[in-house]
């Protein structure tokens, strides 16, 4: 009734090409932004930010990154954890090496460094594909984590082998270190998640995104119609790693405060982010957010139910969580291979025709 394009006439190509062509969608989007940026910061508390919101935004950025590579360009990667580690450690080196430069710049630069590393590890994708590539990216995962554990230059020769984020401020408000207010942590994560989503959304519907999708759908045919596979694959690796690097930098500097490559950025991280995009929806920016939300909320929810309500031991709940995550993956692949994003699309389509279904 209210959710349709009828009567909403566009008078310019720009208006016709906008991300949300339906007016209701557009206003909903603005409303969410207003709530996210102007209302929630005054309302959030420590628990909400630390348990749900901050990891949600950070994982969403990582999921956007992996979705560009896997969902849009069709190159499966199991090295996300390793690339997050690159972001974290380069952010740490920049923070300690240039203390006077803004932390925001450091995080973006950390993304840039990760993009370079990601491109190097993306080179084999020109020769190999499918699960061969997936296994090849495992090399990146294990090698990078080993590198950060063994070469002490990366953690400034500290005795513990850990990296600790020093205090840095944005507009005189601390955003890293021990004295971070919940709302500051929330806002900086939201800021990066928002801009990552906007950039990724616009990249994927432009020329670059179309070449990625052509490569994903059939690389030989894409090559024949003039898509340069070298450029397409390497840009996908670079841009994907850029986002993953930013999320790794945020994860270490803002969220954890202290990290160790093997614990914080192990192979499990790679799997979790991969699961997020499978459940959320391959090839969808909204899906990255939906998948991240589900997999961040699920453990918290299970802990609330299992440990706090029933008083079960924590390890038991952790095992149940493994079973549920595994089941979810299989269920989504069998029943709805396009994930939560597809359910959302179907719901919108239904709503567009409501209340007259024809």
């Amino acid at each position: 009734m209210f959710y349709r394009e009828a009567g909403d006439f566009k008078i310019s190509y720009v208006a016709d090409n906008q991300t949300f062509p339906i007016a209701f969608d557009r206003y909903r989007y603005y409303a969410i932004l207003v709530v996210g940026f102007l209302v929630l910061p005054f309302w959030v508390d420590d628990y909400l930010v630390n348990a749900i919101l901050a990891p949600f935004f950070i994982y969403a950025i990582a999921a956007i990154g992996l979705n560009i590579l896997t969902g849009y360009c069709g190159q499966v990667s199991l090295g996300t954890g390793g690339f997050m580690a690159v972001g974290a450690y380069s952010c740490y080196k920049l923070m300690t090496g240039f203390p006077d430069v803004s932390i925001v710049l450091h995080i973006i630069l950390a993304g840039g460094i990760t993009a370079v590393v990601g491109t190097v590890f993306g080179l084999p994708s020109l020769r190999i594909k499918g699960f061969y590539l997936a296994v090849a990216t495992l090399a990146a995962q294990f090698f990078l984590v080993w590198l950060f554990n063994r070469v002490s230059w990366f953690y400034n020769y500290s005795a513990s082998g850990q990296i600790n984020a020093p205090e840095r401020t944005v507009f005189n408000v601390p955003v890293t270190g021990p004295n971070v207010e919940p709302w500051a942590m929330y806002l900086i994560c939201l800021f990066f998640a928002f801009f990552s989503a906007v950039i990724a959304r616009n990249l994927t519907r432009g020329t670059l995104g179309r070449t990625w999708m052509a490569i994903r759908d059939m690389d030989i045919a894409a090559e024949i119609i003039g898509v340069n596979p070298l450029r397409a694959k390497l840009t996908a690796f670079a841009i994907s790693s850029f986002f993953v690097g930013i999320s790794g930098a945020l994860f270490f500097a803002v969220y954890l405060g202290a990290a160790e490559a093997g614990d914080s950025f192990g192979i499990q991280k790679s799997f979790i982010v991969l699961f997020m995009i499978i459940i959320g929806g391959l090839g969808s920016i909204f899906g990255s957010f939906a998948g991240a939300a589900l997999l961040v909320v699920l453990p918290v929810f299970l802990k609330l139910i299992g440990v706090d309500l029933f008083g079960w031991p924590t390890d038991l709940v952790a095992h149940i969580q493994l079973v549920i995550v595994g089941l979810l993956i299989i269920l989504f692949l069998v029943l709805e291979p396009h994930g939560l994003a597809q359910l959302w699309r179907i719901a919108k389509e239904k709503l567009r025709l409501w209340p007259f279904p024809h």
Binding site: V76, A134, F143, L333
Partner: protein, 334 residues
Amino acid sequence: MPDQVLFGIEVVINGLMAGVLYALVALGFVLIFKASGIFNFAQGVMALFAAMTLVGIQDGQVPFSHLINAIFGTKIHHFGWEVHSILAILVTIVVMIVLAWAVQHFIFKHLVGQEPIILFMATIGLAYFLEGVADLMWGAEIKTLNVCLADGVCLPQGINGFLDATTFNWFGYGLFIDNLDISATIVAVILVAILVIFSQYTKQGRAMRAVADDHQAALSVGISLNYIWILVWSVAGFVALVAGIMWGAKSGVQFSLSLIALKALPVLMLGGFTSIPGAIIGGLIIGVGEKLFEFLVGSMIGGATENWFAYVLALLFLVFRPQGLFGERIIERV
């Protein structure tokens, strides 16, 4: 002979033994991949699952006891009996066959015709699921696995005294070879022989090879794909059990088992996904390669290179020969 050379020889022999264990896991991958085109990421977890089930049955643990205790507030852990190894192995084989049926019936039957990469992701989900179920059933603590075929005839542990003494007499340096590694090699040889005989001389084995060659042709001569796929997953489950016993006896039955099994992936990439000899030779190359690299170069660059060497070797190798050493040539058609 100088000690360094002898030490190097010892490293090579130990690498060969470790390679046999990698090859055991890789075999299961190849079987499933050849027959159904599914790249079974869960093979390592299947080995863990099989080993945990074996230990649990042997020790007479009550399955899901933690869950039951948590829900009903009871305190049951053991039935109070111990099961003989052979019987326990048989029961575990039955469990693996049931698992094979369930995997085929509930997952891959519904995914026929999907892209290989989707199937691959489904097996990652399966790996998580199985890991959770295994932990729920038998508990996540590290278990020791002792397999005894009869009274006093157990899987041997520890250094082989005979080899040690002989080499010491000959060269003045005793080679340190684990008894378990030797028995693992023997078991692996027997297993491969059984697999070869099974696939060459039995009706089911021939059907399996026919399906591996061409699904549709096999279907048209009356071979039931469903049956063959369950069979293949069962055989892979059996191979996983053998691998699980060997790994479990070596380093305890624990979660890291499934991570060690990840090493089977570079083994496959070296050997080619479709070749059983490739899996074995790839395993040996990776085993020797990573031990030698650690011995020669590792100490110079910080050690623990075994974590990544196999993957990087496979990665470099793939750039030059994408189908692996023995894999079929990849031909692409549009």
